[in-house]
Symmetry: D2
């Protein structure tokens, strides 16, 4: 009843691969059986050893892995692959596995070009695969509570959305000091056309869409490269016009010195507002029109079925990012099992189309910046 | 040794006039002796009576007040006038008193046009008067601590400034329900060309300038009128380029439902950041580059002479906005007395030139919005 | 219409006298006309000069002041005296003025013995004077909101009260380093039989009584003297049994290093709880039985008439301790004027009986500590 | 390389068993292979099925499980058992497995009597087993940071410790409404002689010991049963004298309506203080003697090797209780493997002696309450 999965990327020194593995393990629904953990075959073997794999399934490359796994019997081969490589590889890796009917859980952003993103949309459709993108912040139960309340009309008519994602870790040129994460994220060859927007702007954009259900229609972007010598932006502000003329402000930064991982969403409607901060993920602040506030806590005052279904601990027992991440894995596992019919939120995870929306948004932001003016940004990816 | 002052505006039903009077009274440095409290002579008399004035000095109009006070002996007549009328009257009232050599404390924004603002700059210069603008938030001791630290280089080279001023009180059309404050602030004839930017954007802009010492060089503005039927903007975002290419983001809103008076300033430099919120005015959060924080409290950890000189109570005994406001009055009183030479911060109050900067900024924001692009916004008012 | 008042204590180097003067000045209801500001006549003259008094009314002693003021005509002499001396003088000073029919505003604790406290109760009664004790924290509007809600039954039946007042300023032997405040507060001759309980425990005790209306019936106290060489306790915990068997916990400390002025009250009832912190005085946290919270802000969500009547600024414009203090002065002024009949909360200030309750409580706590067991602490002062 | 473990308790409807399983799964170091999940054999089978066990190892009773597992080969049988039953069974279950050389991870409190606790100490010693008690809150990385700083002298000489654990879930008689957790925790036959102190007081007591290294020497306790009809206390305050005369205050409550899981520890030393709250588990507030504060975040500013070794995510990516819990499991697994020699913190988990300390503390608190006075509470369990 557990899902046999493999991993591409996530070898020694990598960060996000380990998070994926903990998320998969938490609820006991997955078994890691294969991997191409590094482009360096020796490192892939080391990782396989550490992870207790049958070493014949610690592959030298993702191409070999796709081929060899496909040659195994249906009861042995991987059903799903987790892709945790730098951005530029997402498309090629996903493509090869989708073509063999392997489901995918992929790190964000989906791809580095809109064309690649749309290609994956088509492939998912053609091969009837599941495809989940790990916009992990939407996995927090209280974010789901926010979604239910906003979409249920509790704030009245939505008027303004403010989303911010501030980090400070790139306020010095870490990429010149051998910091692996910094290296690839600031390198156009591996990160794609954007650094800050691609890495964290895509999360902010997806969070707005997830909670409000509103798509970006027009945007104006201003990008900045604050640390000398960088080729990609490390700070960006994007003014948004969302569906229905809703005003939006999205700002991201990697050079806000001292900020850790400050993702914050505020939504104002005609009858109230809400405020959520990722570093305080168990609380949701509802702002009443009289200026008083209500603070909901995950599993204490958060009353929607959707929030409760994604909660593991009682109120006052904090959950963290791994649990949010695990909700994506858990829902994918549900969707692949007979629980699909009984668990009403099995499809609550970011899809390949959500990923295409994100890639399109980034491209439009860069276009606006080049033009110095507002651009149309409405979009409909294939295969919805 | 107390300053004899008069007031224009601030009669029955007004709000800010009462705050000025409390600020003046707090330290015992002022005596209210005259006023033209309302354009309705009967109301002016009522106010004079309530305030314990000699009723012959509760005038029917500010013109009469200027004339009659000037006719009194030097030891009797007012030395200073507080102007607490709606915006459109600031210029005319200030002008008439300045011409008679009366010092002025005036509410913000200075005027509704740049021409008027510059005229006041010239008059202040010509008549050697003191002129203070009540950007009261710069009166908080901990804001002064922030200034000392930022200007002293504690954050390193400044890179990014984020200032926000969010309110929700105009999220419904209060101005149609007889709410006086809402009426004049949304009325172009009395508020001028701007509502949100004029009323609260001017505070945000001044706060940035006060703390950082950096002037706006270029800006891009997006204005919105969210509540139907309004003639002026009730929501605005302004992207800033400050001196030295520092990136800035200024956003203001009167329709962020539930927000009370959320003025917040964040500054990020090459070696640290800081964060201050007006609704928590006794604390200053310093963000270290390692992601830890230091929280200074007014009179506990705030070590600059400037902050301490503007503090009335020991640490842990909260001060509020009236005390901040009173710091402006107190410093003006010092400047008018022999304390000028002994108190090193007697000139720490917003000036007529600060006011001109604010008016210019608002006009440039509206110009940018009309043009849909970035505009140059560097400015040097007369008489500095 | 202003109250002519004098002050005993509050000369050069004193702290609380200045706070009283600001509180009196804030609303324009008082005029300081006399004072015996120091036991050193020269200092009293200096203070009188600084405060702009007629120097013939800057007296050498409070006895002289009482006599001389009484000799003035009714329209000239002081109507009220503010007593801001160390504790051991409160009784003698209050006594002499009450005997001449002068109203009193006195700093806390009322006296150093129960006998003296009861003597003042009798004198207030006999001479039909007003007597207010400056338990300033009960002057905060949001504390009044708390009172209305608790007494109105919003929390259900009260079950538990936790009050804490932690400071750290005496964590080193400041009294040996010439610190005046530290000197007299740790000196049995001037502070009385208690330091921590007398100075801040009396506030905590009064706050509980003010908000809940419940009196202490039994108590168990543990006192500690943490800093070597001190004669009075600098840390204390008192277990309370309040009326109706309500459980209470009162803890105070002067040696909690780094704490500024951390007075916090929590009350738990059968259907909800509340939480207030003096260092964040504009907010009141209501805890719902489902674990969610409501945060009220002074003038935003605080809906009781009592809270609104003690508020000067709109929501989001912080008020501080001086304003709370000024509410005591303002209500006393109302009580002395014809406003008494129109302002429904004119009698909302701590009385001489509240003071006697506090003194009795301190004595019982010391008795319990000596005995090492619970003691009965129910009490009814004279003259209620 | 994974540890084969079994579980006693944790069947359908149980709460903490699931938490243990997630904690064990998170890092991939454990494999659940056996269980006696319920005293009802049918329920044990259901649990075994759901958990994917070989059903022959879903036992009808823990006695059968101990016997049958012992009969398996060394490479098959469980190496460790997790005990997640109500308190009254801990001793008997642990005893039987220890006698067969099976390592134990046991929920707290250790036992319901001191005799049983000491018996387990002896057995652990005799059979050379590992025994870990899941005082999970000491698993938080930032609590470990606190320990390093306190024990390293950063606060100076420790003077005062305040620990509070407030909950509100038992503010209504849930135990009469079929709530399983409430039922056994308020039932002397299953919870033992104490409810609030046993369930949460034991956590508070252990947290103080873990961080400070100081043992309780004397105590005074006051217990209350607030909700009618209960046989055990639901609210308690314990005054502590710790080693060296350090003053301590421990308060616990299950009837503080609305409180979720408010465990908070404050420690004051001669040169600073610290403050940690379990509901905000990634932050540690250090209070400086000047009244300013430093806020450390897990993995951002928390610099001790011990804290970093127990951290899974970068700063700003919140970790929660499951991760803290998993640190106990992880360290036990390290202790059982060859990592013992390389990982310097393998023995950082609560031991059977820690458990005995907790049980003794609870018994002494009840004794003090019965006597109405202070009692000696120094203790040294067997086998340290």
């Amino acid at each position: 009843m557990t899902v046999r999965y493999g991993m591409v990327g996530g070898g020694p020194g990598a960060f996000i691969g380990k998070v994926h593995r903990m998320a998969a393990a938490l609820d006991g629904g997955y078994e890691l059986v294969a991997g191409a953990f590094s482009s360096d075959p020796a490192k892939s073997q080391v990782a396989g050893l550490e992870l207790g794999l049958d070493l014949s399934r610690a592959y030298d490359s993702y191409e070999e892995m796709a081929e060899s796994e496909n040659a195994l019997t249906e009861g042995d081969r991987i059903e799903l692959v987790s892709i945790v490589t730098p951005n530029h590889l997402h498309h090629a890796v996903a493509r090869i596995f989708l073509q063999k009917g392997v489901h995918v859980i992929c790190d964000k952003p989906l791809t580095t070009t809109v064309e690649d993103a749309e290609d994956l949309c088509d492939l998912v459709d053609k091969h009837s695969c599941l495809f989940a993108l790990t916009h992990s912040y939407t996995g927090y139960p209280i974010v789901k509570e926010a979604r239910e309340r906003v979409r249920g009309g509790e704030l009245g008519e939505i008027r303004k959305v403010v989303v911010e994602y501030s980090q400070g870790w790139l306020s010095t040129p870490l990429e010149k000091e051998g910091h692996k994460q910094a290296e690839w994220r600031t390198d156009p060859d591996r990160a794609g056309i954007s650094s800050a927007l691609g890495d964290i702007g895509s999360h902010a954009h997806n969070l707005v869409r997830y909670v409000t259900g509103l798509e970006v229609q027009r945007l104006f972007a201003d990008l900045g490269t604050v640390v000398d010598g960088r080729k990609l932006e490390d700070d960006a502000t994007v003014l948004l016009e969302l569906e229905g003329g809703v005003r939006g402000l999205l700002s991201v930064s990697q050079i806000s010195t001292g900020e850790r991982n400050n993702l914050r969403l505020r939504i104002y409607g005609s009858s109230g507002g809400l405020d959520w901060s990722q570093e305080d993920p168990n609380r949701l602040r509802l702002i009443e029109s009289d200026g008083s506030e209500r603070v909901l806590h995950r599993a204490a005052g958060a009353t929607s079925e959707r929030a409760r279904a994604h909660t593991r601990l009682p109120g006052g027992h904090p959950e963290g990012l791994i649990e949010a991440f695990a909700n994506i894995y858990r829902n994918v596992a549900c969707s692949l099992s007979s629980d699909r019919t009984t668990f009403p939120f099995a499809d609550d995870f970011p899809t390949v189309q959500d990923g295409a929306h994100g890639v399109y948004f980034i491209h439009k932001a860069l276009e606006s910046y080049r033009l110095g003016g507002w651009v149309d940004a409405s979009y409909s990816p294939p295969g919805v």
